[in-house]
């Protein structure tokens, strides 16, 4: 399935600028207490210039997928047990460490949620950005510094020259996130993975950072994977959305379709359970129960114990992610009914 199907998918994908494809990825964590099946067949792709939002709650596997793409999964306990991650059609999981290292930064780069722990506290921010130019591009110290200052300037850090020799703790949260964006974009990656980039920030700063990311993405025609749990942020910036639950994609759709008419009861439940600022509702309609234990995922559809629409078939058969036309897909036995309801 892997080697044969790859060129075909690739051939059809390349003209539209398909950059990254995750195909039926499976990851498990082997711990003392048992095996947690964290990713159970995730498939998604990103094209040049588009923003794919991966939406899910804690434990849905959205960050682990990203870590597997970047090759920074902690092994052990995490093990890839199946599937492919193709960058320009080539399976990265089969590459040598050296080949993968070359893709990191230049091909795919990542920014993290917690900028204070993602930056090295004992080196200056400038040094950490310039380091990439010296090692990967072979520039001299002076040239690398010049380029690093340009990068800091591009992410709109005031007084970039003076800030070059500051340490991470001397930056505010928003500034630090900007510095991390500068660092990840230094080698001009084709795909940027942003893992909860604004979760730790205040709303006014969040708006600044999301603006900046959007602007840089348009300039560079990057593909972006935005990992988040915030339905508000997603509505503002995403082109397409993949909703994850218990290590699977349960729904994938265009942003307008997903908010207009969700095709999976979990998505519908999420949308109903957020308090909205434009309406003062009485009681929030919640999703009952708790997310499943990944060591013991319910049989059939993983969402069935919490689902208001669950039928006997949901406990027996795992619903596959089926196309519903117009680029949307849902992994629910009753997706058609959901979409066609009024």
């Amino acid at each position: 399935m892997s080697e044969q199907s790859a060129p075909g998918a690739d051939g059809s994908g390349r003209p539209s600028g398909r950059l990254l494809e995750v195909d039926d990825l499976r990851v498990e964590f082997r711990t003392r207490d048992g095996v947690a099946k964290v990713i159970n067949g995730v498939t998604y792709h990103v094209d040049a210039g588009e923003t794919l939002a991966v939406l899910g709650e804690s434990g849905s596997g959205k960050s682990v997928t990203a870590q597997t793409i970047m090759g920074i999964l902690d092994t052990p306990p995490g093990f890839v047990t199946g599937g492919q991650v193709r960058f320009h059609g080539k399976d990265m999981l089969k590459m040598s460490a050296e080949q993968r290292r070359r893709i990191r930064g230049e091909g795919i780069a990542m920014i993290f949620q917690d900028s204070l722990s993602a930056l090295n506290p004992v080196f200056t921010v400038g040094f950490q950005i310039a380091e990439q130019f010296r090692i990967r591009r072979g520039l001299s110290r002076a040239d690398a510094k010049k380029r690093a200052i340009e990068m800091l300037d591009q992410v709109k850090i005031p007084n970039a020259k003076g800030r070059f020799s500051n340490y991470p703790h001397q930056f505010s949260g928003g500034m630090r996130q900007r510095a991390m964006i500068a660092m990840s974009l230094a080698l001009d990656p084709e795909v940027l993975i942003a893992d909860e980039p604004t979760t730790a920030l205040d709303v006014t700063v969040q708006a600044q950072i999301m603006d900046l990311l959007g602007e840089l993405q348009r300039e560079r025609q990057m593909g972006m994977i935005l990992i988040t749990h915030d339905l508000g942020v997603v509505a503002d910036v995403a082109d397409r959305i993949a909703v994850m639950y218990a290590g699977r994609i349960v729904e994938e759709a265009d942003v307008y379709d997903l908010y207009g008419k969700p095709a999976h009861p979990y998505t519908l439940g999420l949308l109903n359970s957020i308090p909205r600022m434009d309406e003062k509702g009485q009681e929030l309609r919640t999703i009952k129960g708790l997310p499943p234990n990944l060591m013991n995922i319910p049989s059939g559809c993983a969402f069935n114990p919490r689902c208001p629409m669950a039928q006997p078939v949901c406990r027996e058969k795992v619903p596959p992610l089926l196309q519903l036309g117009s680029g949307r897909a849902s992994a629910c036995h009753f997706a058609e009914e959901l979409v066609n309801r009024d």
Partner: protein
């Protein structure tokens, strides 16, 4: 007219900044809360919003009498709480309880749920005599939607949302009149957050509780609050009913804050105008002169640097705002889509 259960008058809380280890020298003060006044009526929810560092959590600590105010007063039914001691203080503590943000660190991992929720009864034995305590704890567990049979479990056996319910049960144990909630749902996932918010509302109507609800999430605050106070750098910049603040904000900071909240509706992308603030919040050690918001405000004039704007009702508006140039402005994000 409903009575005020808590009255806060010109509350100030400064923390000294010191230098040196043996010979400590105070080199400045963090002005965490700097002149805040408000009332809390019986049975109402007062939302307090603001960004990190605006002093909202310090306010909670002073309300709880965990910190003594530098100046000003917190009056509980007319009594200054910082002047109480001994039995009077203990009686007061029964009436004001706290729910904390992080359900992971606010519960002692070595105590069972039964001990955690039952601990308040040790300190206030008059509420529940010894024999009846386990029964009371089970009642409380049931009340917050947990299984009473889990009374012997430890906190790590519960999920984040369930732990927050334990925290709420513990706050309810002594049947308080006021609960101060400091970011009670911000550590929780969306689907769990909604469950906890519904629980808080249900408990309020059942027991007639008053809440001081501190949060940075403006949608959550709107959903739960009757009145809302917006804080910036230790001061309140605008106070009003939920409707006044969200539909007719007059302070530029409130307007910017509201406009920056992402709305879960992609069709609003075009019509939404985000007011973009420049830069970061200034240091509370040396806040700007005059209006503290002026360094990031697009309306700032010379007057703003010279004169501190008072929190008062201004012409053309129906609620207090601390801006010399207060003016109504509609924020798309807070209006229902047509």
């Amino acid at each position: 007219m409903t009575e005020n259960i808590i009255e806060v008058r010109d509350l100030v809380k400064h923390y000294p900044v010191t230098r040196g280890i043996v010979f400590k020298k105070t080199i400045g003060h963090v002005k965490a809360v700097d002149g805040v006044s408000f009332d809390l009526k019986a049975g109402e929810t007062l939302g307090v919003v603001g960004e990190s560092g605006c002093g909202k959590s310090t306010l909670a600590r002073v309300l709880m009498n965990l910190e003594k105010p530098t100046a000003g007063q917190v009056l509980y039914k007319g009594q200054d709480i910082s002047k109480l001691s001994g039995g009077a203080l203990r009686r007061l503590r029964r009436q004001i309880q706290l729910v904390m943000q992080d359900p992971y660190t606010s519960l002692n991992p070595r105590m069972t749920v039964g001990d955690l929720i039952g601990e308040p009864f040790e300190i206030h034995p008059e509420v529940a005599p010894k024999g009846s305590r386990r029964g009371k704890v089970k009642e409380l567990l049931d009340l917050v939607g947990l299984n009473p049979e889990h009374i012997n479990r430890y906190p790590h056996q519960f999920s984040g949302g369930q732990r927050q319910r334990i925290g709420i049960a513990r706050a309810l144990a002594l049947r308080p009149e006021v609960i101060v909630c400091d970011e009670p749902v911000s550590a929780l996932d969306v689907s769990i957050q909604a469950q906890v918010m519904n629980l808080l509302e249900q408990l309020q109507s059942e027991f007639g509780l008053s809440y001081v609800f501190i949060a940075h999430d403006l949608s959550v605050v709107r959903h739960l609050s009757d009145r809302v106070a917006v804080m910036y750098l230790g001061k309140m910049v605008e106070v009003g009913t939920e409707d006044e603040i969200y539909e007719r904000p007059t302070h530029p900071y409130t307007q910017a804050l509201l406009s920056a909240v992402p709305v879960p509706d992609p069709t609003l992308r075009e019509s939404k105008a985000i007011i973009r603030l420049q830069g970061d919040v200034p240091s509370p050690i040396s806040p700007p002169s005059g209006c503290r918001f002026r360094t990031r405000c697009w309306k700032a004039q010379d007057l703003c640097a010279q004169e501190v704007p008072l929190l008062q009702i201004r012409p053309g508006s129906d609620h207090p705002s601390a801006c010399h140039f207060a003016e109504k402005r509609e924020i798309v994000a807070t209006h229902p889509a047509a």
